[in-house]
Symmetry: C2
Subunit: 416 residues, 2 copies
């Protein structure tokens, strides 16, 4: 494992001892999300990137020497991470860039990138002897927590999910299948979020809420490690990632930050965050040079529910990720997001949920705006499986050719 | 690659030169599915199982020396196979067996085991310079062909899917997203199947139809290789697999057959096929000692649509698989299948579609009937991702606890 040196607030930069704070910065409150930082000089002396790359473990746990978990800890057994990373020649040609790759994180055990954070949080909970992990979510984070929890068993760990009572029944069904306790709160998501956090503090449950628990980032950073390792530590110029609460782009940023501190990569990629136009507070804050602390709640409306967030919980880290890597934020319309689903599937063979396909539309926009240059190499983080939202995918395509049951009719239909 | 020695009919045992026949046995017709056989003595002299196990390739293509594909062939780029294989201690205890494992083939690129067959068929098509692959299916096989096709690109390969016009729109949507040509035939699945095969013969398209193309089995056999390799070539006593058309159990059987011929495993596991009660012709044929050639079409009704088949297309190989491994066929009710979805998810962390979860109910039945003994070790092949059919999963669980938005109400709800 990597011994934590300190926790550091992403807003006020105050530093805390590893066990002094569990969630956010006591000084800044909920906006003060914490970075988990290591003694990089010591790690650099002790670790060898080639040894790590030689690990036979085909999961995020191959990076255990860089993760805040004891080496002999009980790890959740599901295979999280080491998702496929494909070179995509047709996507490269379509965009007119030097090279393009896609990382299919929809092939994580519960179908999304969020499994990385849940696996890390569950591992931490087990290590600390905590018996309950709770979260407020209706989407991928909840499914990830419920699924990873099920893999270690209710005897070891109970998962409690707070959802607004209005959440779609199909999304709730997946949580119940995994055996999570599901509380349908008769109020908004924000109220469910706050109640979850308060119950965690009161009952000493571990809170997995996005933007609250600093270790979600430590799970998510492994995707950056995997991209770097897959390319022989020669990182792409640009990494594209869709952004709702901002925790995934924060995780990717942290991963490249770690590797750069270790001297394992020579530079960090520019991170380009893609938001839906109807939910793009980070795009505007970035354009206006606004600080995270000054951002105000807004209404959010987009078909890409996984990135719908009026006041992104991890806005501090997300803004910093783009600023310190000299990246950008771009917004794309719901129509562009829908069209991106079949476009990306046909160029790569990967079927994405709307929030995930948004990165393709975002790359087109970033090329127009000069944030991506034709000389750039670009990696796309595909965050969620298309099977998560087939109904939206249905809106993105027309309906096949109806044919009478005869060879003649088929021949005629195909000539058209 | 492995040079094909001969093709051999599973019914009449006639043998053909590798290029003499493309689909089924000319003597037996559609029921005469063919085995692709190799010169096992020559392979045994040339190959080393430890060298194969040392391959860095994390996909089914690590077994290229045992597959009927040229080593320098263009292979579809998606990561098919090498799906997770989990030891499942709680499932072991629940069943009261010596050991249990689950193989999560729902984490293949399009979410099902069928990707193995489609990857093999697409690789064969590319190698032979064929530009169109067609299939009749509404389910996992169609999605697999469309997805694997999309990964190589329409410039290289076009996929044409024949579906009955009554197929669910969501299933059709996934095919269209991948860019397949979808023909909605105004008739039954069987008519669509026959029209597809006739068009393939007429147009020299490659036909992927289950039970027609002998190479689907050659793709599916890789799951057996992976199970054997994961256990250090010490295979389980029993392998459980759900059965509709019978092609998956045939593939598993072929994989263990190959390994046994090579002398890489000392014995073959008993294969236990699980059917839904409303679609269980193989259970009855096996119980009655009937030959595949004598089976007649029946009506099939089950909620587990992936294993609904009134006259299983690969009945010859499926019956043989169970008979020659001294396995069994068992039937389980739709209610048992539904209940198996959450049971399996909670015991293993894997969320399965109904047809896939059926293996858990089947194991319970097999234990009652003495087909599995407490001293046995059992591997479960989980063939399809739960996200493929969330609607059915919804029927398997009750709906969470509705709570007023207060800490008091939450505390009270959790005490119950």
């Amino acid at each position: 494992m990597a011994s934590i040196l300190k926790l550091k607030c992403a807003i006020c930069e105050c530093e805390y001892a590893p066990d002094a704070v569990t969630y956010t910065c006591p000084r800044c409150g909920m906006i003060g999300t914490l970075d988990v930082l290591y003694d990089y000089v010591a790690l650099r002396a002790r670790l060898d990137r080639d040894l790590i790359a030689a690990s036979p473990l085909q999961s995020m746990w191959r990076y255990l020497p860089l993760l805040p978990i004891e080496t002999d800890a009980v790890l959740p057994p599901l295979r999280v991470g080491m998702t496929p990373f494909y070179h995509a020649p047709r996507l490269t040609a379509d965009l007119g860039v030097r090279a393009a790759w896609v990382k299919d994180d929809g092939l994580n055990p519960t179908g999304s990138f969020k499994d990385r954070a849940s696996a890390m949080v569950v591992a931490r909970a087990i290590e600390k002897g905590i018996r309950v992990v709770a979260t407020a979510s209706t989407g991928n984070a909840a499914a990830a927590l419920a699924g990873i929890g099920a893999s270690v068993g209710r005897e070891v760990l109970e998962t409690i999910i707070f959802v607004p009572a209005s959440a779609p029944e199909a999304k709730i069904a997946q949580l119940l299948v995994y055996g999570a306790t599901v509380l349908l709160i008769e109020d908004t998501y924000d109220v469910a979020f706050d109640l979850c956090f308060q119950m965690c503090l009161e009952q000493s449950w571990y809170c997995r809420n996005t933007g609250i628990n600093p270790f979600t980032t430590e799970g998510k950073k492994t995707a950056a490690y995997e991209i770097a390792e897959a390319l022989g530590w020669d990182v792409p110029d640009v990494v594209m990632v869709s952004v709702g609460d901002g925790n995934i782009i924060a995780g990717i940023d942290k991963g490249f930050y770690d590797l750069h501190q270790l001297g394992w990569i020579e530079r960090v990629p520019r991170l380009i965050g893609v938001q839906a136009q109807g939910s793009s507070p980070l795009v505007r804050a970035w354009q206006a040079g606004m600080s995270a602390a000054d951002m105000q709640p807004e209404d959010a409306h987009t078909i890409a529910d996984s990135i719908s967030a009026g006041l992104p919980r991890d806005r501090a880290k997300a803004l910093r990720a783009v600023r310190r890597t000299r990246g950008a934020f771009v917004a794309v319309s719901d129509a562009e997001i829908l069209a991106a689903i079949p476009a990306l599937a046909r160029l790569t063979g990967v079927f994405s949920e709307p929030a995930c396909a948004a990165v393709y539309a975002g790359a087109k926009r970033a090329l127009e705006l000069g944030y991506i240059l034709p000389s750039d190499s670009v990696a796309f983080v595909l965050t969620g499986n298309g099977l998560k939202d087939v109904r939206r995918a249905q809106e993105s395509v027309a309906g096949g050719v109806r044919v009478q049951p005869s060879l003649d009719a088929i021949r005629r239909a195909l000539e058209k």
